[in-house]
Amino acid sequence: MAEVRDTETTTRPRRRWRLLRGIGWLVFFLVVASVSYVVLVMGGH
């Protein structure tokens, strides 16, 4: 039982950290895509 509890306490923060990292990369992707799109539209002729 003690071993199981140990595993849970270590995987939860890891999962949360992975989720936060994923969200961070997604936000970065969207920011780059948005800025690129605005530059393409405003510069397009």
């Binding site: 990369w25 970065f28 992707f29 969207l30 920011v31 780059v32 895509a33 948005s34 690129s36 799109y37 605005v38 393409l40 539209v41 405003m42 510069g43 397009g44 002729h45």
Partner: protein, 343 residues
Amino acid sequence: MPGPPEAGYGQIVIRFLARVLIVGLAGVAAAFGLYQVSVQPGAALVHAVFQKNQQVHPPSGFTATEATVTETRVPIQAPGAPAAAIDVYRPRASATAPRPVILWVHGGGFLASNAAQFGDWGVLLAHQGYVVALLDYSLAPQTHYPAPVRQANAALAWLSQHARQFGGGPARMAVGGDSAGAQIASQLAAVESNPQLAAAMRLTPGLPPARLRAVVLYCGLYDMSTVGGTGFPALRTYLWAYTGTRNWLAYPQIGQLSTTRQATSAYPPTYLTVGDRDPFRTQAAELAGVLRARGVPVTTLFWHGQGLGHEYQFDFRYRQAGTSFQQTLAFLDQRLRGTGADG
């Protein structure tokens, strides 16, 4: 058993930078893909920018000017196009003679703005003794070319028949416009004076010959074969949205939009102005040259070394806007209040 060797700081930084590069490139690729596939997001973006900005900064004392003018909205039915509307501005005071009539087509890249945003402009012109109709035409990309030209033509026809109820004289009419509206207005004047263009567009000119006495064009685009070289921001989005064709230069009717090609010697006298920092300055110079070569009377107000941008004419915080307005009035006065029978 020993675990895998711990990554050093250098390796961690390199791995992070590689991820930044990959995700960044994916973002650029996604943006480029979207840019190629659809005009809708770009049109929505430009539309949002236009809708936020006030289009006219009137001169001081405008509140008193506004009180002298009244406004009426009139629906316009245009054959082969959605219903449009005009906002008619006229002086409250009655006149002894019918007033000249001006149809104004607002700018906004064919896809943004509306007549209400140019209401102050209608007030300023009407205060000078004109009946001014601001056209609310259908916007791209929901509606494509030639709907706005059809609507403008129908508005001219309506004004010709009903101007008297607003104190206007239908024998003294002018059209004007700014930016994309200048393109539409310039093409409308070509429709009224070039039967071949009218026939190609399957349009019956809204006015009898010679009724259209003047054209006022602010910072427009008039030659589709050269406008791409002006570097005007978002031009591709405007013309893709307007023509419905991504490669707008390949649009079959693109030649109809070039007033430099469609204007004949019967084109009405024209007033042209553009800022010296406006990318469309070469377009105005080109049209002035073409019209003069065809014997059309042309009045120009071009600037040098003033740093005036696109649509400077509506920003009365700059003295040059006042100069442009006074010269526009002088031109209209000469062309619309000169000799000739009134209607």
